[in-house]
Subunit: 144 residues, 2 copies
């Protein structure tokens, strides 16, 4: 999905495209990894120093309403945000080294599914975050 698609989804739902909103979405769109609120604010302030924190928070609501936002909540760090651009249900492989996150498609194992079925549990949604080191960071670590 390219950037204009995102903007169209926004407009089709009746939201206005303000300069701030465009920058706020760009920040996520052009980052190759989920970003913290601090990084988000920094990016946007670079493009428009007047952008206010509360504007970002309000746009989080907008992006959630559009179903375009992924929130990632590592155990030991602040929440991070990313655009959710694939229609398929997916999860992130998150590198503990460089922070890069890659979306991968989800498949709960059959064994898992069986356990859940046996309990007659009606599964509605799930959240899976995978942490480790990407190939590049792994190689760097080995060298040092």
């Amino acid at each position: 999905m390219d950037f204009n698609n995102v903007i169209n989804i926004l407009k089709n739902k009746g939201y206005k495209l303000t300069n701030q909103r465009k920058i706020i979405i760009e920040a996520l769109y052009f980052s190759n990894k989920p970003i913290s609120m601090e990084e988000w604010l920094q990016y946007t302030k670079n493009k428009n120093p007047n952008i206010n924190l509360s504007t970002i928070y309000r746009n989080i609501d907008v992006l959630e309403d559009l179903g375009l936002l992924s929130k990632i909540r590592p155990k030991d760090e602040n929440v991070k945000y990313a655009l959710n651009l694939s229609e398929k249900h997916s999860h992130f492989l998150i590198c503990k080294g460089c922070g890069k996150a890659e979306e991968i498609e989800c498949c709960l194992s059959k064994e898992f599914q069986k356990i859940i079925d046996d309990k007659e549990f009606d599964l509605i949604e799930h959240n899976l975050e995978l942490y480790g080191y990407c190939k590049e960071c792994h190689n760097k670590l080995k060298k040092s």
Copy 2:
């Protein structure tokens, strides 16, 4: 693992067993579901009205140090806490109706594992939370 085991783990690491700490741990131990900070404080205040919020927060650090704490962070609710009593890596099936959580053992699917291996991603840890309705809540919902 029974309650005394938990206390022994605590003492073996050199922590003291104070009245407050005992109550704080009891609250988690005797709850059949992960509890919010609010519920946690309420339980402890019932047993000892002087217990302070910051004491609970400080004991979170202790329990984490002991590797006994699970934090569950639903998308739309506050963090919830539970004791992590099984040695095996496991995850929670969390009921959106009654809040009850059941630990289940984890098994990432082979397909999943293959995707990760193909990327040469060095997986260190993962976090999986499953939400839905338990049998009882599901039945109740159907009736109404």
